[in-house]
């Protein structure tokens, strides 16, 4: 009998084999069906293995050492509860994306650019989660980044995609550099890169805080923390939609896994200033992410920005867990940590679902700009229904899953008066208010997304003639929608399944939710707060049915169709409807004036001039303009200066080499 980790590695090997097979098969017409079908089967098997570990208790904790990598180290792989949970997220997302790909992939113009990298990307993500030493971790991390970069560049001739790929590559290299330094600091001068050795070494507070900052840079740049998020809204939309779903719904979670692994597991006991940094960054990311999304009218970019928001929420929750952990409050720490993991799971469900929905719209209409869509609820009833579920879930509204994790985070926020530090006492309520703001803005944003895209009247011929998408895509979306509802009405079992992870990382154990009456969730004690998604759902269903029954029993049944009331302006054109930009106007005016330097310019033609009046919206991405553009300018300037070094004589090169050598030796001599 093979160990659990060995079985998972067999799956990874299978995925890598599929990548090779895809290169061979890529010109065949069966390639799409074979590759996606086989990827789905392997992902489901890996999912089953991870679930068995998570639900059935540790099967065996033995690691696996492969004779590759550094000669004195080898490549270590190991599975624990944390890894098992993230394997569930990765492989569930992978299976759903493969099922979706079975239908969506048939419309792919260049399958040979997608098929080999898709299983390789999934293999990379699985490997990152399984890696048990710093060297293989970084190697797998780079493999994952490169595979996803290749997928971003799949349609490299489309406008903007090459730039997206370039920026992604720069940010990914930067992130890996930060991770490299972090692991270097962790391993210390002894240089043992195994996670087990790092875990057993004590770290000084200065090293710990430095590692935390490097992890925020490294994992944060992959996850999309502000201000390192810039590549995300460019690269995620550039990839084919099922890959966008994987990148947004799953790869950002792998980055969060890296953060948790290092900060909660390897670093040991945290200190409270660490939590202040994480809480601050997380809450700013959450609010800014959703405000960016609110200003966006490109569907996939909107979804990518909303991913940034959700990453912020997860980091806030992790920051809370750190704060409680630093003060030895194990139970609230476990609550905040469970909330973070629950949100990781939820976000992977509804973000994948929404990206699939965006892909379905792309297949049906060829449009990503919501201001050219509209009225699709009539043309694509099934897609619109499942996307509506995704929108309600991501807006954190009961009885769906997004609300449960937000509710748990708020419960953790309410535990903060027990914290002894004043900075945290004052900060946490403010962070809670920011979270509430982000949740309300998310609801606004998804009203806009669904309302402009699916409701109203079609704004273009493509939207007018759209047809429903294929069965595979619908199946993938329906499964995810069902999971959103299930996790929302039965949160207790999910929390119980997350319990071993929380115990492993925080040492606190929440009450077993299966023992709570009526399947409610009671995170701390019943008098503090409880929530029952199932009963809320049943109550809503009963009261809605009662209302429908009485109305249909006693009220008039008459119904007449007529033209919409035009307020004296009949037959307005569809272009006169509220668009994405006009829907965002109140929020743009309230928040954007300061945060985006937003201005509305009305250009009125002179009297007698027959040109139409125009409204121009001016928006600035201040992070891009104030941080990245000066940085890029400085790099370009330095490169221009250093360019002179290319044209030196051999004597000068030799003297440069000599000078470097002398300087280094001098440094070494003074240092020691």
């Amino acid at each position: 009998m093979m160990s659990a980790v060995a079985l998972q590695m067999v799956g990874v090997a299978g995925l890598l084999g599929l990548a090779v097979l895809a290169i061979v098969l890529s010109r065949s017409k069966f390639a799409t069906a074979v590759i996606y079908g086989a990827t789905m089967v392997i992902c489901l098997a890996a999912l089953a293995g991870a679930l068995r570990w998570l639900l059935g208790g540790p099967v065996d904790a033995t690691g696996l050492v492969l004779p590759v990598g550094l000669p004195w180290l080898g490549a270590h792989f190991r599975m624990d509860a944390l890894a098992a949970f993230f394997l569930v997220v990765v492989n569930l997302g992978g299976a759903a994306a493969s099922l979706y790909g079975l239908g969506y992939g048939r419309h792919e113009s260049s399958p040979h650019r997608v098929l080999p990298f898709f299983p390789a990307f999934l293999a990379g993500m699985n490997l990152v989660v399984l890696a048990d030493d710093a060297f293989s971790y970084l190697l797998c991390w780079e493999f994952m980044s490169l595979a996803s970069w290749a997928l971003v560049m799949a349609h490299h001739r489309e406008a903007g995609n090459a730039r997206a790929g370039y920026i992604y590559l720069v940010m990914a290299s930067f992130g890996t550099l930060a991770l490299l330094l972090a692991f270097g600091l962790l391993a210390g001068p002894a240089g043992d890169y195994g996670f087990a050795a790092i875990r057993n070494t004590p770290h000084t507070p200065n090293v710990a805080i430095l590692v935390l900052i490097l992890m925020l840079l490294g994992a944060g740049s992959k996850a999309g923390l502000l201000p390192l998020h810039v590549w995300l809204p460019l690269a995620h939309p550039a990839a084919p939609s099922h890959v966008s779903a994987l990148m947004s719904g799953v790869m950002t979670k792998v980055a969060i896994y890296g953060f948790i692994r290092v900060v909660f597991d390897l670093l040991g006991q945290p200190t409270w200033p660490a939590s202040v940094i994480v809480l601050g960054l997380g809450s700013i990311t959450a609010v800014m992410g959703i405000l960016y999304a609110m200003m966006e009218s490109d569907l996939k970019r909107l979804l990518a920005y909303s991913t940034i928001e959700n990453i912020g929420i997860i980091f806030v929750s992790l920051g809370l867990a750190l704060a409680f952990q630093a003060n030895g409050q194990k139970l609230p720490a476990a609550l905040a940590f469970t909330a973070a993991l629950f949100h990781v799971l939820n976000h992977s469900f509804f973000k994948s679902l929404l990206f699939f929905g965006a892909g379905a719209l792309l297949t049906a209409t060829g449009e990503r700009d919501m201001d050219r869509l509209g009225g699709l609820i009539h043309r694509m009833p099934l897609t619109s229904f499942v996307v509506l579920i995704g929108c309600v879930a991501i807006s954190a509204l009961p009885p769906f899953n997004g609300f449960v994790s937000e509710w748990l985070i708020f419960q953790a926020v309410l535990q903060s008066p027990g914290l002894p530090q004043w900075a945290l006492k004052i900060m946490v309520p403010a962070v809670g208010a920011m979270l509430a703001l982000a949740a309300a803005l998310a609801a606004a944003c998804f009203v806009k997304m669904f309302g402009v895209t699916f409701l109203g009247r079609p704004r273009s011929p493509a939207a007018e003639t759209a047809v429903e998408v294929d069965r595979y895509s619908l199946a993938a979306m329906s499964i995810l929608a069902a999971l959103c509802l299930l996790a929302g009405i039965l949160p207790g079992p999910v929390m119980d399944a997350l319990s071993p992870v929380a115990v492993e990382m925080t040492g606190g154990r929440l009450p077993v939710q299966a023992h709570a009456p009526w399947l409610s969730i009671v995170p701390i004690s019943e008098s503090r707060g409880s929530y029952n998604g199932l009963l809320v759902m049943v109550f809503i269903a009963i009261s809605a049915s009662l209302a429908v029954f009485f109305i249909h029993r006693f009220a008039s049944h008459a119904l007449r169709r007529g033209p919409a009331w035009g307020c004296g302006f009949p037959d307005s054109v569809p272009a006169a409807q509220y668009s994405g930009a006009s829907f965002a106007q109140p929020i743009r005016r309230v928040f954007g004036t300061l945060l985006f330097n937003a201005r509305d310019h009305v250009e009125m033609p002179a009297p007698g001039d027959t040109r139409p009046a125009r409204l121009r919206i001016e928006l600035h991405d201040l992070i891009w303009e104030w941080l990245y553009q000066p940085l890029a300018g400085a790099v370009g300037y330095a490169a221009d200066r250093l360019n002179a070094l290319q044209f030196l004589t051999i004597r000068r090169y030799l003297s440069l080499v000599f000078a470097t050598l002398v300087t280094l030796l001098l440094v070494l001599a003074i240092w020691s």
Binding site: W407, Q411, A440, L455, S543, I551, A564, F583, P586
Partner: protein, 318 residues
């Protein structure tokens, strides 16, 4: 079965909010009219309005989708469930623990989400303007609401409304600065959430300043009846919420028998009347503000909530 009386009491509560909600709105309208030295319609006019709407046919826009027809029932159900979970005459009812205050606020959020979508469904500018402003006001009101919840939970140690009400009613809470701030903030949020003056005007239908009424402009007949009923219920919900947290006197404790329930119910009706009178007085005395003044108004509520919370950190006795 021991739960049967509990279920009956819970059912009574659901029925009570349903029956009283239109009366509260009618009462407020009547008082407003009297304050303006008008005769005003009868207090029972909202019931007649509802019945009239139910008898009328529905005129549906040509391109209205199924979502437009489902929304009235969904919003009504969500608000009704939320209203039934707020303790009115008795605390600790059977299903009160199903959802705490955060969940109740989120249920109202669900109702608003669907209503805002319905406003976008027909594709006229009126619906769009109403929806976009409604979600803006919600985005500003929700952080303030959370801080109020936070403030309350700090005092009472729970977000569970029954527990909060029992705590406020039983122990000697006394007058506190922080709770005073919280109640003012909660009233401001309630005014915004219920589309009352000075944030919105519930009496107008055709003015560009309107928010809520523009969003539901396309509705007619039984659908409009459901939406109006939902709005009545929401007003009642917020009044009950303020009453049960900040004025919990004579609220019947769980299982104290029919007599206590009757006393609780009588006290509840009195509280509603007082609240309705104060609301009418306030609405008559102020003017509606510009839409883009609302951020300042709700920002003040947010700051009051934050200040109340911080005062509680300084000392639990504030």
């Amino acid at each position: 079965m021991v739960v049967i009386p509990d279920i009956i009491v819970q059912g009574l509560q659901m029925l009570l909010v349903l029956l009283l909600a239109p009366l509260l709105t009618g009462f407020v309208r009547k008082i407003k009219a009297r304050l303006l030295r008008r005769q005003g319609a009868s207090m029972f006019q909202p019931y007649r309005d509802l019945l009239r709407l139910l008898r009328k046919e529905v005129v549906l826009a040509d391109n209205a989708s199924w979502l437009f027809r489902v929304t009235p029932y969904v919003t009504f159900a969500a608000i009704w469930v939320a209203a039934a979970l707020v303790p009115t005459f008795a605390s600790g009812l059977l299903f009160n623990w199903t959802a705490d205050l955060i969940a109740i606020v989120a249920l109202l959020g669900s109702a608003r989400f669907f209503l805002a979508l319905a406003g976008m469904d027909v594709g006229t500018s009126f619906g769009g303007i109403g929806s976009s402003r409604e979600v803006m006001i919600a985005a500003l009101a929700e952080p303030a609401m959370l801080l109020i919840v936070f403030c309350m939970a700090l005092v009472a140690g729970s977000t569970q409304l029954s527990t909060v009400a029992n705590f406020m009613a039983s122990s000697d809470v006394g007058l506190r600065v922080s709770l005073g701030m919280a109640v003012i903030a909660l009233i401001m949020v309630a005014l915004a959430e219920n589309a009352r003056i000075p944030v919105d005007n519930p009496a107008t239908h055709l003015e560009l300043t309107m928010v809520h009424e523009a969003m539901v402009l396309e509705y007619s007949g039984r659908h409009l009846a459901m939406i109006e009923f939902g709005a009545f219920l929401k007003l009642l919900l917020y009044v009950s919420l303020i009453a049960c947290v900040f004025l919990p006197w004579n609220i019947a404790l769980f299982g104290t028998g029919p007599l206590a329930y009757a006393v609780g119910a009588a006290a509840y009706v009195v509280k509603l009347a007082v609240a309705g009178f104060l609301l009418a007085l306030f609405e008559t005395a102020t003017a509606k503000m510009r839409v883009f003044r609302v951020p300042q108004f709700l920002g003040a509520a947010l700051m009051l909530g934050l200040l109340g919370t911080l005062l509680l950190f300084v000392s639990r006795s504030f």
